[in-house]
């Protein structure tokens, strides 16, 4: 009986978790490609559209460790304070977007392609969005 009760309790726990997952999935639009990040700490204030960084495109070409270990991108949307000067100086996106590894900074539109008003955040499928961090 005690075992049955504890089983019931843990089943209850699992279904509560499932509910959580469903809630997370419906709360957020299922539109953008999974893993897309908007960077807009400064861009729009300075008159440029928000930047969209696509993980799917880059991970076909680079492992995570290239950006998040070698190049030192913090693994948290909105936490890297990127300026255009940094990029021109070869930091952040500028480690590659320098006309050597990839096309250079003159292609403003390719990075600054976001809809107006988008906040710095990770978008896409079913991201986590618990109260703990967001």
């Amino acid at each position: 009986m005690a075992r049955f009760l504890s089983q019931l309790k843990s089943m209850h726990r699992v279904s509560r978790l499932l509910l959580w997952v469903c809630a997370l999935m419906t709360m957020l639009p299922l539109h953008a490609e999974y893993g897309d990040v908007v960077l807009n700490r400064r861009a729009e204030k300075e008159g440029m559209p928000p930047v969209i960084y696509p993980h799917w495109f880059h991970r076909i070409r680079f492992r995570c460790k290239v950006c998040h270990f070698e190049l030192g991108f913090e693994m948290r949307a909105g936490s890297n304070d990127v300026t255009m000067q940094d990029i021109i100086d070869g930091k952040f996106c500028g480690m590659c977007h320098n006309d050597e590894v990839a096309w250079g900074v003159e292609n403003c539109d390719l990075c600054h392609s976001g809809r107006p008003g988008m906040k710095s955040h990770i978008y896409g499928g079913h991201q986590t969005a618990g109260p703990g961090i967001w």
Binding site: S10, L17, P49, W56, V66, G132
Partner: protein, 164 residues
């Protein structure tokens, strides 16, 4: 019932890759539309999955469908680890097998140790709620790596298959 709901939502999400012009993120007026690659063009060529990018990235790498660069600077050390860790505090759910190999193919040790995980078996007080809040495994799973709806991919070892 609950499971059915999850499954149906996953299936719904698995519809298609959205064109950039109506992904709710790109400005449809942007000159980049038409120049940027459409996700469907690249991702439909890779081993399929039912969630996230709808790509099984572990398979894509293993089968050599993609070969992403491991480093930019020649002197950077590329560290791989081969061992699995069984994580057994899973209540009635199957035990979690954490594979170092699948992770270190993509990530460096310092991406996880010691900032998100202490490198000692059982040293991390993890539970599912914390993960759903974006801590521990949820830092990546649910953001960039396959999402948290895929219970079985983590909870992969039935309790009766592990020695006491």
């Amino acid at each position: 019932m609950m499971l059915g709901l999850v499954v149906s939502m996953v299936l719904e999400a698995a519809g298609r890759w959205r064109p950039l012009a109506n992904d709710n993120l790109h400005d449809p007026e942007s000159p980049a539309i038409g120049v940027l690659q459409e996700p469907a063009e690249a991702l439909s060529q890779l081993p399929p999955d039912t969630s996230g990018n709808l790509v099984n990235w572990v398979k894509a790498l293993e089968e050599g469908k993609i070969n992403p660069r491991t480093n930019i600077r020649p002197e950077t050390k590329v560290r791989i680890r081969d061992t699995d860790v069984l994580m057994t505090e899973t209540g009635e759910m199957p035990v979690v097998r954490f594979p170092h190999k699948a992770h270190t193919m993509w990530l460096d040790c310092s991406n996880c140790h010691e900032q998100y995980f202490i490198s000692k078996v059982g040293a991390n007080p993890i539970n599912m709620l914390k993960i759903l809040e974006g801590k521990y495994c949820g830092r990546c799973h649910g953001a960039v790596a396959f999402p948290l709806t895929e219970c079985k991919r983590c909870h992969s070892v039935p309790r009766n298959k592990i020695k006491p």
